[in-house]
Amino acid sequence: MTTTISAQRLARVFVEVADTLVDEFDLIEFLQLLASRTADLLDASPVGLLLADQRGRLEFMAASDENVKLLELFQVQNQEGPCLDAFRSGTPVVNADLTEAKARWPRFAPRAVQAGFRSVHAFPLRLRAERIGAMNVFSASVGGRLAETDVQIVQALADVASIGLLQERAIKRGELLTEQLQGALNSRITIEQAKGALAQARGISVDEAFAVIRAHARNHNLRLGEVAQAVISDPDSIAEQLR
């Protein structure tokens, strides 16, 4: 993991994140971008984003890298884990050594170690007293510590994203974040359904199916949710098209 992030790279990411908070905004696409860019800054450590639903339950929304193992690690944190701690306390959890975290997170820590990770970090997505979720960063290396400056940078990025989500949207288009969030949660379910449908239609794994869906979305400048919806509407013909 990095110790210093170049100022130019950083400036570009902040501008890009702010620039996404405009018209035609899509919550999942935005979170996907945030996760990917944060992962880039941190030398490709997997980054995931969880948002709290109306009932205070953390739900997985987007990740820089998406596979069955990571998904499980994100999902288990609606019960315990660094994201839940960061979300509840409003303060980051940094450089938590997973090999020594079994007592703290009996379900999460062994799974994370088994998935090959050695340390974990979580940053709250918050604006003052308002808390909306958390950002999760995994590291596979023993020395995968985040330097203090990096901690500040990642938290700043999380803050910019939170301010954007909580303020700008509400003011600009009179659209409520609850509406966006519930729509995105449902979109997330559609993406999982589409992975399954495509996996079945093509005889591939769900991870492979997601790779196909994501590649198609990128190549055709479509949203993940749109491609997923198309897959569900007609899995067989889409399976042919995406070949």
């Binding site: 109306q54 007293a129 729509g183 379910i189 999982e192 359904q193 399954g196 495509l198």
Partner: protein
């Protein structure tokens, strides 16, 4: 969105059971309370009561999306519910189309958005409307509308409750699809030991195996879990691992 301040952080299965209990407590009308239709009317009645609303209505879109069935807490509300479908505009129409809630805390400010519907409903005394889609991912079944006679936003708790009412309605509708009606809807999507993602992946796989709809796929999975006394999450796991298939073998 989780506005933690002043919010009761309940586990979702607990809220689900709470809402089911509210529906059970709802008094039955004389003639219509058997089966799914009666259940839906009572759900609307319980939702209106729990959300301090003047009424609640529910619309179920029938397969082709062209026809609809409505249920409501009172005949007046049922007329409002049907009006949206007749006019083809309104919060519930938008909620269904956009697959997300449409929350209108002040109907007076929404006249331009629905030029025919909003004035008509306003004239009948409605001041706030909250529409929630009945859906599980791409499976879209209908919508639940909550009407209030005073303007103002639902509180965080009320929003959570309304979303749970919508979830219970979805579970009831999906169970109605295969007629098993096993009555074990509690926390049906919230198997704490299973992965939610896996459940929906399995649903997509079964949809293709059956050549049917997502709703049918979930109904079959739930019926299978019930008949074999297994957790839905375990059944989903077996489907994704390809240890279990619902495909009819081709000759």
């Amino acid at each position: 969105m989780a506005r933690l301040r002043g919010m009761r952080v309940n586990g979702v299965p607990e809220q689900f059971r709470e809402v089911e209990a509210l529906i059970r407590q709802e008094p039955t009308a004389s003639e219509d309370d058997l089966g799914v239709a009666g259940g839906m009317r009572r759900l609307c009645g319980a939702a209106a009561r729990a959300l301090s609303a003047s009424g609640a209505g529910l619309t179920v879109m029938v397969k082709d999306g062209m026809r609809a069935v409505t249920a409501a807490s009172s005949p007046d509300i049922e007329r409002l519910e049907e009006l949206q479908l007749t006019l083809g505009e309104g919060p519930c129409v938008d909620a269904f189309a956009s697959a997300r809630p449409v929350l209108i805390p002040d109907l007076a400010s929404a006249m331009a958005r629905w030029p025919v519907y909003a004035p008509a409903v306003h004239a009948s005394g409605v001041r706030a409307v909250f529409a929630f889609p009945l859906q599980v991912g791409a499976a879209r079944l209908g919508m639940l509308d909550v009407f209030r006679s005073a303007p103002g936003m639902l509180t965080g708790n009320e929003l959570g409750l309304a979303l749970t009412f919508a979830e219970v309605a979805v579970a009831t509708l999906i169970d109605g699809q295969d007629g098993t009606g096993n009555g074990e809807a509690g926390g049906w999507l919230d198997d704490p030991l299973g992965s939610r993602a896996e459940l929906f992946q399995a649903q997509g796989m079964v949809m293709v195996q059956l050549g049917g709809s997502l709703a049918e796929a979930m109904a079959r999975m739930r019926a299978y879990a019930y008949a074999h006394d297994r957790r839905l999450g375990e059944v989903a796991q077996d489907i994704v691992a390809r240890r279990l298939s619902f495909a009819t073998p081709r000759p």
